[in-house]
């Protein structure tokens, strides 16, 4: 290994990157773009759900009940309708996502100590949002019921208000949200997206760097030169590693300052782990570059083999817990799962070496395997 040759290749590559304006912009803008789009674009906060009302009772009590929805920050009141049929068009056009019908004699029955029912229609096209909406509705109704029952018991059995309430709701669940107290989906999304973006862009750059030479034919200069394959691979890789290391910092800054996610862990640990992860994912790019001949094919193949594990097998969108045993096993074969744990661990949970050493070791093993396989399959004398 001759370091001055490595340096020469790295320098040549760096000049090339600088001179290709589109490529240079892509190297820094693309990661940021993917990041911002997914960070802002995927929000799992279910708030301001637009809804409409059909109140067939129109009494003080029905209005009081409805105001529990209208005043909630989870709902956004869009108005009253006159018949149930009007809901169809509103729901189909996504003007509202939820509709509520209050039956006639609502107040009369409740005051007489009888039960009544409230019908709600929920748009279930996006199942997660539908489920959360349903749980809000049940929560509001349950709350109303508790007060109504307690009021009834104070009257009927002469209990004090407090006694009656504890009779009606003997058990309360007090949830304590760990690591993300305000349940902000952007915190988990942003810190999780580090995993996705660093999975996609380093292989993208590395693969294009090698394939560009193949497509231009300039790789034959390399084949014919005295440089050894390890020197070439290393020299090729260094500028892209530098770019990716800068990108880690840029993204990190965005996660903290644009998305407001706190960083509770050890910065040195996280940076080291991220660099190892980048080395690992760039190895994927090296393997892609061995397989394909053109830049288009390189971009497409990288997108496919990096997006799929990052989206589906990492635990970002599909929780590992919800997977079938077979899929769960597959998920452990991709590096994304380990880095996501490191990311969430560092940002939200405040963990460091002591808890996450295994994940880092897994990434290292991964990197070594990828680069050794890449090295062994890169030949200066292509067999055709």
């Amino acid at each position: 290994m001759n370091l001055s040759r490595v340096w020469a290749v790295a320098y040549k590559e760096w000049r090339e990157v600088l001179r290709d304006r589109l490529f240079f912009t892509m190297a820094f803008v693309l990661p940021l773009c993917i990041f911002l789009v997914l960070g802002w674009g995927i929000s799992f906060d279910v708030e301001k759900i637009p809804f409409a009302v059909l109140d067939q009772d129109r009494t003080a009590m029905s209005r009081d009940f409805l105001h529990r929805f209208i005043d909630s920050r989870y709902f956004n009141y869009k108005g009253d309708v006159r018949s149930e049929r009007e809901f169809d068009a509103l729901l189909a056009h996504s003007d509202i996502r939820f509709a509520i019908v209050i039956p006639p004699k609502f107040q009369e029955r409740l005051l007489a100590g009888q039960s009544t029912s409230v019908q709600s229609l929920i748009d279930g096209v996006f199942p997660y949002r539908g489920q959360v909406t349903r749980s809000y509705v049940s929560g509001i109704i349950a709350n109303f019921n508790r007060q109504s029952l307690a009021g009834y018991l104070t009257g009927a059995r002469g209990l004090s208000q407090e006694q009656a309430l504890s009779r009606v709701a003997p058990v309360l669940l007090e949830p304590r949200y760990l690591y993300n107290q305000a349940l902000r989906s952007q915190w988990s999304m942003a810190s999780g997206l580090m995993m996705l973006v660093l999975m996609v862009t380093p292989p993208f750059l590395t693969a294009l760097g090698v394939v560009r030479e193949k497509e231009n034919g300039s790789i034959y200069n390399i084949y014919a030169s005295t440089i050894s394959r390890s020197e070439f691979i290393l020299g090729k890789f260094l500028p892209y590693l530098l770019i990716s290391c800068l990108n880690i910092l840029v993204l990190w800054w965005v996660v903290m300052n644009v998305f407001g996610t706190p960083f509770k862990g050890d910065p040195l640990f996280y940076y080291a782990a991220s660099v190892i992860y980048v080395i690992c994912t760039a190895g994927v790019g090296l393997l892609v570059s061995l397989l394909v001949q053109t830049q288009v094919a390189a971009i497409t193949l990288t997108m496919v083999i990096s997006f799929v594990p990052a989206m589906l097998y990492s635990g970002l969108l599909v929780p590992i817990e919800s997977m079938e045993p077979g899929t769960r096993f597959e998920a452990h074969l991709f590096p994304t799962l380990y880095y996501l744990r490191i990311s969430w661990g560092s940002f939200l949970k405040g963990l460091g070496w002591a808890e996450l050493w295994f994940e880092v070791a897994a990434l290292m093993l991964y990197a070594v395997i990828l680069w050794v396989v890449g090295y062994l399959n890169f030949h200066k004398r292509p067999r055709r």
């Binding site: 693309l30 929000s43 929560g139 349950a142 059995r157 830049q295 288009v296 097998y313």
Partner: protein, 384 residues
């Protein structure tokens, strides 16, 4: 005479369309990309992305060890929860939560049963790992439901002998209907959203690639000296690629989405295809713009990836318009994918007809005319 000229004009367009189709079918890389996108990619997204709580692991700290506490614990059952056993203290709980071994820890206080029987209100604590907000939200809401049910059953047992049935209590019965996707199958939503993304990518990529390939190979000069007008060169590319995309959409819908996810199509399929065709035409205008901005296929692919980001962000697929900040909501009017997304879900899942969707149709048409004229104008300027 006039009609002859008209026929000749169309003859040329048709001849060029056939040429484009032949050229595409002889390009194995592009073909493979198209086939992959319309089949495996959509299937993976539909099958893979699940935002449901499924066997979330829970552990218990039971300080009471009574019949009542056991009764509550045993209600944490599959399919939502998977009870992993009992642990002794907070320290261990914290450790397990940190490592992500369990999602939630239920903490039942001492004298749980005694206080219940005395009619005192008891609080049960649930520590939830919310580094993944989707899981955290769902787990909390199901746990709250379970404890509330437990409490209600307990209360009814206590109050039962005196007051009798629920019928005779002033409570509201929560009758909800989840419309359009009653069983909350994530595959319906995800596969359609992925199909729409694929249509968007390809309707930009394919016409742009077809146009740039002529530039790359220099055959554009041949076209320039032929009797074809710029529109006669562009239109066949758009027509040919639209045909391919519509065919792919049909394959995807009938061979992947409907059989694999048992999607019940509520609305009119011809209307869906008409809307898709309009959309493909609109986005191909962006494709033509890309073709004028780049010299090589590699650049085309990069620009497509770059432009995809804002289009996806503003589509409303992951974040519905009501959850967007006001500025972005306004910007959504300029994202063609927003119109397609709204209309596709409305037609396929909600069974909406043209009358309901008239404003969206009008919006997409106007946007399509604007984009397409812009693309043609750019091309003419560069070409002529």
């Amino acid at each position: 005479m006039n009609s002859n000229r008209f026929l000749l004009w169309w003859d040329r367009v048709i001849a060029m369309t056939v040429k484009e189709l032949k050229q595409l079918f002889r390009d194995p890389v592009l073909l493979a990309i198209i086939v992959y996108f319309f089949t495996a990619d959509v299937y993976l997204a539909g099958e893979g992305i699940k935002l449901n709580l499924h066997n979330a692991s829970v552990m218990v700290i039971d300080h009471d060890h009574s019949a009542a506490s056991r009764e509550l614990i045993y209600r944490f059952r599959p399919p939502y929860f998977d009870l992993k056993g009992e642990i002794s203290g907070k320290k261990e709980a914290e450790n397990l939560l940190n490592k992500g071994k369990v999602l939630a820890v239920l903490d039942i206080p001492e004298h749980f049963q005694r206080n219940l029987l005395r009619g005192k209100q008891v609080a049960v604590q649930l520590q939830v790992d919310t580094s993944d907000t989707v899981l955290g939200t769902l787990a909390t809401s199901y746990a709250a439901q379970i404890t509330a049910d437990f409490g209600q059953d307990f209360a009814m047992q206590e109050l039962g002998p005196v007051t009798g049935q629920t019928d005779n209590l002033p409570v509201i019965e929560d009758r909800h209907r989840v419309l359009y996707n009653p069983n909350q199958i994530d595959g319906w939503f995800m596969s359609i959203s992925e199909l729409l993304t694929v249509i968007t990518i390809l309707s930009m990529l394919l016409p742009a690639a077809a146009a740039v390939r002529e530039k790359e190979r220099g055959t554009i000069e041949q076209l320039a000296v032929s009797p074809l007008t710029p529109l006669q060169i562009l239109l066949p590319k758009v027509i040919a690629m639209s045909l391919v995309i519509l065919l792919g959409t049909a394959v995807c819908l009938f061979l992947i989405i409907i059989p694999a996810f048992h999607l019940p199509v509520k609305g009119s399929i011809p209307l869906f295809f008409a809307v898709t065709a309009l959309y493909v035409f609109a986005t191909s205008g962006i494709g033509l713009f890309i073709a004028t901005a780049s010299r090589t296929l590699g650049q085309v692919t990069m620009l497509v990836v770059l432009l995809m980001m804002p289009i996806l962000l503003l589509s409303g697929v992951w974040t519905p318009p009501e959850a967007m900040p006001q500025g972005l909501r306004w910007a959504m009017t300029f994202s063609p994918l927003y119109y397609l997304t709204e209309m596709s879900y409305a037609i396929l899942l909600k069974g909406a007809d043209m009358y309901i969707l008239k404003d969206l149709l009008l919006g997409l048409t106007l946007l399509g005319i604007a984009f397409f004229s812009f693309g043609v104008w750019r091309f003419r300027r560069q070409f002529g």
